[in-house]
């Protein structure tokens, strides 16, 4: 009104394009914010791959780039799981590596000489920018309000729940999988809305990409059928559903079967059976709908009932039969642990031992999602108000993922997108109502003729409440941004390969023991020296030290891991033959006692014992590592099993010599240690890092003179050998 010049821009067709341009600029800014907020770790430390799994992905990507796609596809990795090796090409989700490989080659083609490491480091931030865009598209499908999509994109861009898995350097499958998840859901909503084969096929295409990228694709595989199933139960069958679902299922299943690791799982594994079942169901429903057009109501009712009963009976019978006969694989252990959180602890210690498989603590929800977590139910409520097909999807997704996020910490990741959608819906509804300056206009007079009173339209009139609500919303948003930045910078940007601590004067002190030790291995050991360590460090040793390992973070072979656990938790006399049999040259342990680093092997030790006990219950017993009063101790009162275990000896070997006599203390477990350092006979200390975090031992060869190692060591120390004590019974002398 006051500014006619602006009216040109804001109204009419040019106004629409102005808003479009503005939207694009906002989205680009959001994407830029999403990328830049993930760069803390690169700025603080350096461009380095983080944590554990990314190191494998990085190594695989390097292999792909060096050897080409086909040799990657057929890759037999002889440097892991020694001596079993790993059919790596057939047991990984190649999407991530292929994506970076393609980016690498495109860059090379465009004559940008980019190091593959930098692509890997920055892939996750780049894809998080795309996720924000996909989020905008998805949310825009849910509502007519243009602001909801932008809000959702902004939330998705910076919420810590997603940042935790996508900071620069966190080169993990989730880096691209969350983008694919959101985008697949967007395409699916499009397909359901339009009943279009094209959108259905696109959904299947991106679903295939998702399958190639992350094991979490099962979530989509079950969520989409569930959506259809609920819609069918609500009596909302339509040809749109039929077309979109059958297109997606047929093409998507075919696409997923192209990944060697997935192979025939979609038709053999119970996790995928719901999709198949709903596929069958929708055929029946479609047939019933078809028949309904030709039959009178009563006959149809009878036919329908009998058909439903017969089909259900037949289907259930088949399922039971196939499950019992083993054609359909039973539910996987990870799946059971989704329903019963105690299941893994009892039956599959190897799954329970992973920290990200633990149930989520309540504060984590607020920590990761901040104020979104309480806007989330409001958004779901708003969906109930409209409850179109796509809103049903949001409701189902919300219910399922909130449950899963409560069960497992890592599944917080799948909850985050829907929280962003729902929270954006709620907040945009608030803002749309409260950010309008003008009072609500009364409806056109023609509708209400009867009553004399002109009904006032419902709306907000008071400027005070408008200002108040708007301000508080803005305040919440600002706090959200501050919180996200703080969490990202403090909690999620540590590479965990390099530890940072603060000196008393506030300056930063970098603890770089891991890399120090890995580079020691790389420089000082033969190229095929086998390194035994607990599986947590397998990928890092493979990636950074480039040496073969016995076990690594791809925990596919529980027995092999249990073997390592047994070697670690047994006496030297038991461990040594195991080490010899597996050609182990060096043993690596992580010891935090000097520095107070709590993630060390002695704290993980009980898991080694448990996993070993699972395979050798007669030889390893968890109970023996606890004192009579049930305490886990490493000091003078430690149990004999504990004191004689290889892990204990390797951790504390020579440690006492650092301290004045009798004052050795372990700073992680906060206890005094026995006065004498444990005696290691079969291993030689080869390397100890600066802060004693990593200790590497070399496995001794067999004694040159056929003695056992303890007497050889005793001889070297100068102890005189006594004649063998007289045993009872006849002496055995050789006469040959």
């Amino acid at each position: 009104m006051a500014h006619p010049a602006l009216d040109v821009l804001l109204k009419g067709s040019s106004g629409r394009s102005t808003r479009g341009l503005l939207r694009i600029i906002i989205l680009c800014t959001i994407a830029a914010a999403a990328v830049s907020s993930r760069l803390f770790s690169v700025i603080r430390f350096e461009s380095i791959i983080h944590e554990f799994d990314p190191w494998f992905n990085f190594r695989a990507t390097k292999y792909l780039v060096q050897n080409g796609f086909y040799s990657f596809w057929d890759w037999f990795d002889d440097r892991t799981w020694h001596p079993l090796g790993r059919v790596t090409g057939g047991t990984l989700y190649p999407g991530l590596m292929v994506t970076s490989g393609v980016i690498y080659h495109v860059m090379r083609f465009l004559t940008f000489p980019v190091d593959i490491r930098n692509i890997c480091v920055l892939l996750a931030p780049a894809f998080s920018g795309l996720t924000a865009l996909a989020m905008y598209l998805l949310t825009s499908e849910m509502t007519t309000s243009p602001s909801a999509g932008l809000l959702a994109a902004a939330f998705m861009g910076i919420t810590p729940g997603y940042i935790s898995r996508s900071v620069a350097g966190s080169y993990d499958n989730e880096a691209i999988a969350i983008f694919l998840l959101v985008f697949t859901f967007f395409l699916w909503i499009k397909a359901v809305k339009n009943g279009s084969i094209m959108w259905g096929a696109l959904t299947a295409l991106f679903y295939g990409y998702m399958v190639s990228a992350w094991g979490g694709y099962v979530f989509i595989t079950n969520l989409i059928p569930l959506h259809i199933f609920v819609l069918l139960c609500m009596g909302r069958y339509s040809s749109r559903l039929y077309i979109s679902y059958t297109t997606w299922y047929a093409l998507g299943t075919l696409a997923s079967m192209q990944i060697p690791f997935v192979g025939f799982l979609p038709i053999r594994n119970s996790d995928h059976m719901s999709a198949l079942g709903v596929f069958g169901l929708i055929q029946l429903v479609a047939f019933a709908e078809f028949v309904r057009g030709f039959l009178p109501g009563k006959q149809f009712q009878r036919l329908l009932t009998s058909m439903v009963l017969i089909t259900f009976g037949l289907g259930f019978g088949m399922l039971v039969l196939l499950s019992v006969s083993g054609v359909i694989a039973p539910w996987s252990g990870r799946f059971y642990s989704l329903w019963d959180t105690a299941y893994a602890k009892v039956h599959i210690p190897i799954i329970a031992s992973v920290s990200e498989h633990q149930p989520t603590a309540w504060p984590a929800f607020f920590f990761d999602l901040n104020f979104l977590i309480w806007l989330f139910p409001a958004g779901v409520y708003l969906c109930f108000q409209k409850l179109k097909d796509e809103h049903v999807f949001v409701v189902i997704y919300a219910v399922l993922s909130s449950y899963f996020a409560g069960v497992m910490v890592r599944l917080m990741l799948t909850l985050t997108p829907i929280v962003c959608v729902a929270a954006a819906l709620a907040l945009s509804a608030i803002l749309d109502n409260f950010l309008v300056i003008s009072a609500p206009t009364p409806p056109a007079k023609t509708d209400t003729n009867k009553s004399d009173k002109v009904k006032k339209p419902i709306g907000i009139y008071s400027y005070f409440s408008k200002t108040f609500v708007t301000c508080s919303a803005v305040l919440y948003l600002l706090i959200f941004v501050a919180h996200c930045t703080w969490v990202t910078s403090n909690a999620y940007s540590s590479p965990s390969v390099v530890l940072a601590s603060k000196l008393p004067d506030g300056s930063q002190y970098i603890i770089d023991d891991y890399r120090e030790a890995y580079y020691w291995l790389r420089q000082n050991t033969p190229d095929n020296a086998k390194i035994m360590s607990w599986w947590d460090y397998g990928y890092q040793i493979g990636g950074m030290a480039d040496r073969p390992t016995l076990v690594d973070n791809n925990t596919w072979n529980n027995t092999h891991i249990a073997t390592v656990g047994k070697a670690m938790s047994s006496r030297e006399e038991v461990s040594y033959p195991i080490l010899r049999q597996h050609d182990v040259d060096y043993v690596l342990v992580v010891f935090g006692g000097l520095l107070g680093y709590s993630g060390d092997d002695l704290n993980k030790f009980l898991w080694m014992v448990r996993i070993a006990e699972g395979i050798w219950p007669d030889e390893v017993s968890e109970r023996e590592f606890f004192t009579a009063r049930g305490e886990y101790r490493v000091d003078d009162e430690a149990t004999p099993a504990m004191k004689n275990s290889l892990m204990y000896k390797m951790s504390y070997h020579n440690y006492q010599n650092l301290f004045p006599p009798g004052q050795a203390a372990d700073r992680v477990r906060g206890t005094k240690l026995p006065a004498d350092t444990p005696q290691l006979n079969t291993l030689d200390e080869a390397f100890t890092s600066e802060n004693w975090i990593i200790r590497i031992y070399k496995v001794k060869d067999l004694d040159n003179f056929g003695r056992d190692h303890s007497s050889a060591v005793a001889f070297d120390k100068g102890h005189k050998k006594k004649r063998a004590a007289k045993k009872k019974g006849p002496r055995v002398l050789r006469t040959e």
Binding site: W73, D78, L84, V87, H582, G706, D716, R731, R734, E736
Partner: protein
């Protein structure tokens, strides 16, 4: 000039030929220089075989087995000292270190005086035990020399030993009688697999301490063939350690003595020949195996050269060829190694445990070596396997070869195609019939336009 060089080379080779396979520097530990003349034939024999002998007293200050961190001698011959120990340069630790660095030792003991405790603890490390008082002598009232020990019966007459087991090559056999005066007996523990007896006392022998007035019959450590006159240990690095119970047997006197067993004829001893055999074995002139070329590759048709020699990676179910070349050193030259008739040279294809254990057959023979080979199919199990030849026999140096190779799975394009599998024809037929049926359906559907009348009727309904 070239002639001169060739001549020099030939001379040098001739000189080298008559040597042990592992060097010629021999140190003799002799406490009393005067005793040197007692063994002059032995020294002459050794020098004749090309050894550089140096004599040192254990008490000598500049005696050291190592110089600048390296072995100063290749072989060590220790004659029993009269004094208690062997001095600071020859502690058991040093001697074991000498063995660790591939030096060889021949240790002679004597029943005349008690053995020093240092030697005793050295022998204990090798699982060779002496009698508790370390001064026992072997006595046999049936196999003694009636000429020199008519009273004491402590000069034993023994035949030279044959092979230890049927599958083991004899290195000490031959005709004749050995005279072994005053043997300090050794017994072998059952813990170590590295020790082996060479010559044991007859079943009628027993050990006895001449210093004790009344021999105690209650606590007998060992009797008869449990007592060894000569025993050896070969360390895992093939360093050799031989123990001779009777040093006097090496003396000139006994090299040329004539002996007479009770009820037997007078015969000359063969001590000199036996001393040659024993020193030759101990100083690695005999029983030394050398591994030449090891080759493995994919099996080829006869005569064809393999595409790649010693590849790092194989595939499951590959036909694979393996060969190993072995030579044996006999006194002065390398000769083709022959496996004893009752024995087997084996190849193991292992991953954690052997998947194949095959005997290697001699297929080719060169002037100095035999080539053993075999052919087999890699197992249907991928992993990191190794070709292992683990041939360890008493008196032969150890052959332990381990060559790691990767056995990979089938690549995606190495499986037979679907149409090549007759069982797959059913599915292929099903597949194509569905496709064909669909096409036929589409064609029929497209070309069976309903009559326009019908359409009108439907509309009106």
């Amino acid at each position: 000039m070239r002639w001169c060089l060739a001549f020099f080379l030939a001379y040098f080779l001739a000189a080298v030929n008559a040597l042990s396979s592992s060097g010629s520097r021999l140190l003799v530990i002799l406490e009393d220089a005067a005793e040197k003349s007692l063994y002059s034939t032995l020294w002459a024999d050794l020098e004749g075989r090309g050894y550089d002998l140096s004599f040192e007293s254990p008490k000598s200050d500049d005696l050291s087995l190592f110089q600048h961190g390296e072995r100063a001698y290749d072989h060590l011959l220790i004659l029993p000292p009269k004094s208690k120990g062997l001095g600071p340069a020859l502690t058991p630790k040093n001697i074991l270190e000498f063995l660790n660095t591939d030096g060889n030792i021949l240790l002679a003991l004597s029943g005349k005086s008690s053995t020093s405790s240092a030697i005793n603890s050295l022998l204990l490390e090798a699982d060779i035990h002496l009698s508790p008082d370390r001064s026992a002598v072997v006595v046999d009232h049936f196999n003694y020399d009636t000429i020199s020990a008519a009273e004491k019966h402590d000069v034993l007459l023994l035949p030279r030993p044959g092979p230890l087991r049927p599958d083991i090559k004899p290195f000490f056999d031959g005709e004749g009688v050995l005279a072994l005066p005053r043997i300090a007996p050794q017994t072998l523990g059952s813990d170590s697999v590295l020790v082996a007896p060479v010559l044991h006392a007859p079943a009628t022998a027993y050990s006895y301490n001449p210093r004790e007035e009344i021999p105690a019959a209650e606590d007998i450590q060992a009797t008869g063939s449990q007592l060894n006159a000569v025993s050896v240990m070969q360390a895992r690095n093939s360093a050799r350690f031989a123990v001779l119970g009777s040093v006097e047997a090496l003396e000139d006197k006994w090299f040329s003595a004539t002996v007479k067993a009770p009820g037997g004829k007078k015969t000359p001893t063969v001590n000199r020949e036996f001393a040659k055999q024993l020193t030759a074995w101990a100083f690695k002139e005999t029983g030394v195996l050398k591994v030449g070329a090891i080759e493995h590759h994919l099996a080829t048709q006869d005569g064809e050269a393999p595409a790649e020699l010693n590849p790092k990676i194989y595939r499951i179910k590959n036909e694979t060829f393996f060969s190993i070349e072995l030579s044996e050193y006999v006194y002065d030259k390398w000769v083709p190694f022959e496996v004893p008739a009752a024995d087997d040279l084996q190849l193991e294809f292992t991953m954690l445990s052997p998947f194949h254990r095959l005997s290697l057959q001699p297929t080719r023979r060169t002037e100095t070596s035999t080539v053993f080979s075999t052919q087999f199919v890699t197992p249907d199990q991928h992993g990191i396997f190794s070709f292992r030849v683990n041939y360890k026999r008493p008196f032969l140096t150890n052959v332990e070869e381990k060559h790691e190779v990767t056995v990979r799975h089938f690549a995606h394009d190495e499986y037979p195609r679907s149409w090549a599998i007759s069982g797959g024809w059913v599915w292929i037929a099903g597949l194509w019939s569905v496709i064909g049926g669909f096409l036929v359906f589409v064609i029929v559907w497209l070309y069976s336009e309903p009559a326009s009348k019908g359409a009108q009727i439907k509309k009106t309904q």
